[in-house]
Symmetry: C2
Subunit: 146 residues, 2 copies
DNA sequence: CGCTTATTGATACTTGGTATCAATAGGGTA
DNA sequence: TACCCTATTGATACCAAGTATCAATAAGCG
């Protein structure tokens, strides 16, 4: 789905370097998230995981999703169908567009958001440590094929 | 909490004009949301409601919250403590800042966001019909008293 | 003041997510 | 490579947020 490169190897390295053991469940889940066309919920990831690894436990998937999110490798989407879907993190592309027609996520360059944060801090006097921006609508493709 | 005026009367009018009956539960809940210092979850609103109206049903509060959200009178917050808290809607102030220290929400002028949307539509080719922006950090007050 | 029906409250239920704990398997060491 | 220690897993029970049901209540209209 993401228009940038995502390398599952790097994710495993990140898990390893954070002091966690690298396990086969992890490899399978990382692969699932890194290669999915669409945002996935833990429940959906579990379904997919069991296709190639039937004994995979539900709790394990939830634990893994939590870990990947904490490591900053995936990010939660706050959407119209709820707030339990995740997409891979692309650090320089923090602005997300979600197509309400096809469901895909598109990553946008975050520089304009950084500028907006600076400006807002200055105007409001608040110290902004994190932000979350999502757009919703019809993607370029879906407009064409409408 | 909001730095602008919120008039519970107007909310009742909106409910009325949308063809719904105006009931005492509604009056009580609208008052609760319109006057709260902090974002409230349905569960919290229920607790408060029962103080002055003990027989208030839980499902009723959930239904009411849903209705108020659909009418655009309150908005869901997507925060660090989950995604089940609501604040009154102030149409021209769509950018929200949430203080991670005191929990209060601050409304920011949405013009810069509108500009950003225009710009993003142009660059990406997507048609943006809705957006959601939240900042997190330490509010001006909490920085002072730290 | 009744009549009609939208709304409510009690209850049961579902869904998304957690806690527990014995069994398994990473991975460091010899 | 074999062994050990313990992090991680899977099965299960559990919990909390939210929803469906349905009889009882109360808006609001004539
Ligand atoms: Mn959310
Ligand atoms: Mn190994
Ligand atoms: Zn699309
Ligand atoms: Zn504060």
């Amino acid at each position: 789905m993401p228009n940038n490169t995502i390398n599952p190897e790097d994710w495993l390295t990140a898990v390893d370097e954070s002091g966690f053991r690298v396990t086969t469940v992890q490899e399978s889940l990382i692969d699932i998230f890194a290669h999915s066309e669409y945002p996935l919920s833990a429940e959906q990831a579990w379904e997919i995981a069991r296709q190639s690894r039937p004994k995979t436990g539900r709790a394990t998937v939830y634990r893994m999703v939590e870990k990947l999110e904490k490591l900053g490798l995936i990010r939660r989407l706050h959407g119209y169908q709820g707030c339990s879907h995740f997409v891979p993190t692309l650090p320089e592309l923090m602005m997300l567009f979600i197509c309400l027609s096809c469901g895909r996520a598109d990553y946008l360059d975050s520089q304009p958001l950084n500028d907006l944060i600076q400006q807002s801090e200055h105007i409001s006097g608040h110290h902004i440590t994190d932000s979350r921006l999502q757009f919703f609508g019809a993607c370029a493709d879906c407009q064409q094929n409408a």
